[in-house]
Subunit: 294 residues, 2 copies
């Protein structure tokens, strides 16, 4: 009996050791998530997962920034700063006029196929490019699609993924929320809008030595640039609807041949509103609900 | 031998089963991370951690949105959409003029204590409040500080935390990056600027029944609003510097008595530039480096 025990033990000990090994490995994985750098992450992960996680991984990094965005190398000279100075009267008028203009902006999903001058698109994107960014990394890429075939491919990818999301990825909560949002799989504007602007955030950059360079606050920076872009579009009478195609980032990135350090943040179909365009009768919060003075 | 085997087997089988159970449990943990709601997260967590993690937790949720931002309840009526229509010539001119104005914007850290009309601040924040937001949640709170004592308390908290960050929280990589960023602990503008605008993102809201309501894309939405705010400030000749006070969010939230669902996103000191204001001689990327046309 004892003899049989000692004879058999090695077999089971071996099995147990293997299992313990698996436990340790899988539990270590969990903690590594937070520690490992975005570089390591970018590789070893399937694409859907990557799309879902990368910005969160970086978030942790981003929180560890120095706070000041005005990053500069020590050798950058400082120069006197000049700016327009308006009378208080002008300031009040200019601020009121801009508010009045922007307050007319609405997200419009009915976009006419009427052509829009390219120069205008160039200028609104140049305006967006004046946004501040963490350590002046300017971590944005604006991909402007005017080719009808590419626009249609984008539409196919987005409608396909949304159906998958609906059927497989979402829990009851999401389905209910989506009902509330009256989400519409059919996105005709992706074909009709003369331009689709896909905004990518560069989640990291490259040092001259080829090492990856963290782009602090890349998502906040690119979103700020998009805010300026939306104001610039409204300023010329063009409309758009702010969309974040769910889980399509990687496929669209590949379709548009963008590098792996770029992640899709927003997609904006841009054009004139169609003749019969309607918008939901939504109201905005009064200023007292969004502003507190101390 | 065979008998001994069958006698001993149950013992080891039991051990093996327990180990397999542990493996399954620990691997399930991993997936649960994504499923759990922000509600569960919001509680059980120390504040620094909370500040560092909440937006990442939500990010996962946010990625699970329906894509379209134009959320509306089924009972909201649609109304015809009207908008200004400009000639192509006007569009080109307006887009060029806005770019020229915004391209003069710089992050300025030398801010004069000269008073600024409150009405202007109200208008730029009203302009920021016209931003789109996920499911029209308008998840932003703009806290405007004009009380000198509160401004000074804010300065003390920020300078204190930055020293702690420098000494304890940051690894060599951060210290090196910070050297590169020539970060300055001393933030005089927090005292001198006539206004400090602290922008909070509401990471969740409340349903009438008191249940927490996910604010999809709250960070992107609030950042977009900040982009509009920066454009509106530039439009009236005021300056600011975009800052993200590291780890100060919770202390500032408590100081300003903001609810727990609000997290500090950005702090903008706002005023006229001081006479001797300088800025680093930075250039922006040419449009061809940020724009791709297909």
């Amino acid at each position: 009996m004892a003899m049989a025990f000692s004879a058999l033990t090695p077999v089971f000990i071996a099995i147990i050791c293997v299992l313990i090994g698996i436990i340790l490995k899988s539990s270590r994985k969990g903690t590594e998530k937070k520690e490992s750098t975005p570089n390591q992450k970018a590789e070893s992960r399937p694409w859907v997962d990557e799309d879902l996680k990368d910005s969160t991984d970086l978030q942790g990094e981003e929180e560890d920034d120095g706070g000041e965005w005005q990053g500069l190398d020590d050798d950058i000279a400082h120069i006197p700063f000049m700016t327009e100075r308006y009378s208080e009267e002008d300031m009040v008028k200019r601020s009121k006029d801009l508010y009045t203009l922007l307050n007319k902006r609405r997200s419009v999903r009915f976009i006419s196929d009427e052509p829009v001058p390219r120069e205008v698109i160039d200028n609104v994107i140049k305006a967006a490019g004046t946004a501040p960014s963490g350590a002046h990394t300017e971590p944005w890429t604006f991909v402007v699609i005017q080719d009808p075939e590419v626009k249609h491919k984008i539409r196919e990818i987005i409608e396909e993924e949304e159906e998958i999301n609906y059927q497989k990825r979402m829990g009851d909560r999401w389905v209910n929320d989506l009902k509330r949002l009256r989400t519409n799989w059919i996105k005709e504007y992706l074909d009709t809008a003369p331009y689709l602007i896909l905004i990518f955030k560069q989640v990291y950059g490259m040092h001259p030595d080829g090492k990856k360079k963290t782009h602090y606050y890349n998502e906040i920076s690119v979103s700020i640039a998009c805010g300026i872009l939306l104001a610039a579009l409204q300023n010329v009478g063009l409309v758009t609807v702010t969309t974040t195609p769910l889980n399509c980032g990687p496929r669209l990135r590949v379709l548009l041949q963008r590098p792996v350090n770029e992640k899709l943040l927003l997609l904006l179909p841009v054009g004139y509103p169609s003749k019969d365009a309607t918008v939901p009768d939504l109201k905005r919060k009064p200023v007292d609900d969004i502003m507190v003075v101390i």
